[in-house]
Amino acid sequence: MTTMTDTNNPPVPERIAKHPNFWRNRKHAEHFRNHDEEFDAAKFGMWLFLTTEVLLFAGIFVAYAVFRMMYPDAWSNGSHYLDWRFGGANTVVLLISSWTAASAVRCAQMNNQKWLKINLIITILCAFIFLWVKLQFEYFVKLGDGKAPGTFFSYPNAHDAHEQLWWSLYYMGTGLHALHVVIGAGLLCWVLVRSIKYQAYGPGEYTMVENSALYWHIVDLIWIFLFPLLYLVH
């Protein structure tokens, strides 16, 4: 398929044009009738996986609801310990990265190789900014104060007997989310490397871009709920 943006791309070097990973050279697996079926199957598989991710985080959310009902004082104090400005900044960072991830899929669909790479790079940079804010301004400061989970708790100015439970949930929820940020950034890095080396993704072959972006969006989605629950609800 030729697209309008093909004229914008520099001519494909011989080395890439003959490489089996170049998107025009990709063949669908033999047990699929055509590439579309393979794409739909892969995408549905990704969605099934994403539902298990949602259920994984559902455990955290249910724990949040249960503990909030049992110890409303500890939960109220807990959210007041967090600064909404850091959470808000990270929300903005993740939303922008989700936008660039969606734009990366669009660029792959339109064979815009240059902006595919630029969008991926911005997304990965946003992931690092997110983790940096999280560690530098939140985790390190709070752990230094002794606002640590469970039995590691040693903050003397706590006002409620159950605040260590709040911190357990805070580190569990945001830590699990941060782990997903790392994994998502790793996937996008892989996509970026392959698109630099082989121009592996284009209109005929962008399953991996799509699925990595879906994973990244679910990371964003989880944060959309974690942010108000941890920082704003009191």
Binding site: D40, R68, G144, A161, H217, D220
Partner: protein, 284 residues
């Protein structure tokens, strides 16, 4: 979509491809739509943060207590709108096969079941219905939301080697402190330190009630007792801003007054929006 997909765009039924999957074109979302969705998401973020700050300002400026459900409902509604935007446009569910949406909705049904049954369990754990009274037997902890907190349940150990003694983890930390913050014991044992400094910092952050370890009543001498001036509890005319249930706050209220009195029942309405079920003891 293969390279020859354009050539096979024939609307007649093809026995090789009964479901017409080669005719299915992937939807490319225009950049204008993507940008619009991003701006909507950022606006929603600004809105939810703005509502939070507005609520905090109203509560402190007018000394009123906004019910907690307003806060929760507002924040969660905006979060849901944002989630729908991300799913529909960024994750392309709007343009996608419905199967993917069904998978997500089915999973959300599961999340709903988790939440609902946990909440039902928590709310009814210490309830014995009258019609089951004859079956009542001794067993279990029977503790739930309506059971007064029993601090002895939290005699956790800090590590296998350090016992917190009879104190909970938080109380143990309050007494012993850590590398960055001196604990109460340090202020008491060291003559050059004034215990009042500890309590100034302590009450300064979330002054709610006199702490159990505050033996010399710094709560009053430092001027935080005005929070409890006059009626200690919210009345129909004055709502005392206070977050959550404060253990021991109602200790001086006689039990019969608490159960039947008008002032006490209006107080318990205000003290805790986190769970509405505490109204149980007023009803009987």
């Amino acid at each position: 979509m293969s390279q020859n997909a354009a050539d096979t765009h024939d609307l007649s039924w093809n026995p090789e491809d009964p479901h017409g999957s080669t005719m299915h074109a992937h939807h490319v979302i225009s950049w204008q739509v993507l940008l619009l969705v991003l701006l909507a998401l950022l606006a929603c973020t600004a809105l939810t943060v703005g509502v939070y700050n507005l609520e905090t300002w109203i509560e402190t400026a007018f000394e009123v207590r906004i019910p907690k459900w307003v806060n929760v409902f507002g924040a969660m509604s905006i979060a849901t709108i944002k989630a729908v935007l991300v799913c529909a446009f960024f994750m392309q569910l709007k343009y996608d096969k419905a199967l993917n949406t069904f998978a997500l909705l089915f999973c959300l049904l599961g999340v709903g079941l988790f939440l609902t049954f946990s909440m039902i369990d928590l709310n009814t754990r210490d309830t014995i219905h009258a019609y089951k009274g004859v079956e009542k037997t001794v067993g279990g902890t029977g503790s739930g939301l309506n059971t007064p907190a029993v601090d002895e349940r939290f005699n956790s150990r800090l590590s296998p080697h350090i016992s917190t003694g009879n104190a909970g983890i938080v109380e143990y930390a309050r007494l012993n402190g850590n590398a960055n913050h001196k604990g109460l014991n340090a202020y008491r044992e060291n003559d050059s330190l004034d215990e009042a400094d500890f309590w100034t910092h302590f009450y300064g952050s979330h002054a709610t009630h006199r702490d159990r370890l505050d033996e010399h009543n710094y709560f009053e001498s430092l001027g935080y007792a005005h929070h409890l001036e006059g009626s200690k509890h919210s009345t129909a005319n004055l709502s005392v801003p206070r977050y959550g249930v404060t253990p021991g706050l109602f200790d001086d209220v006689a039990p019969q007054e608490h159960a039947g009195g008008h002032a006490a029942s209006s107080g318990s309405e205000h003290d805790d929006g986190g769970h509405e079920s505490t109204g149980n003891d007023n009803g009987h």
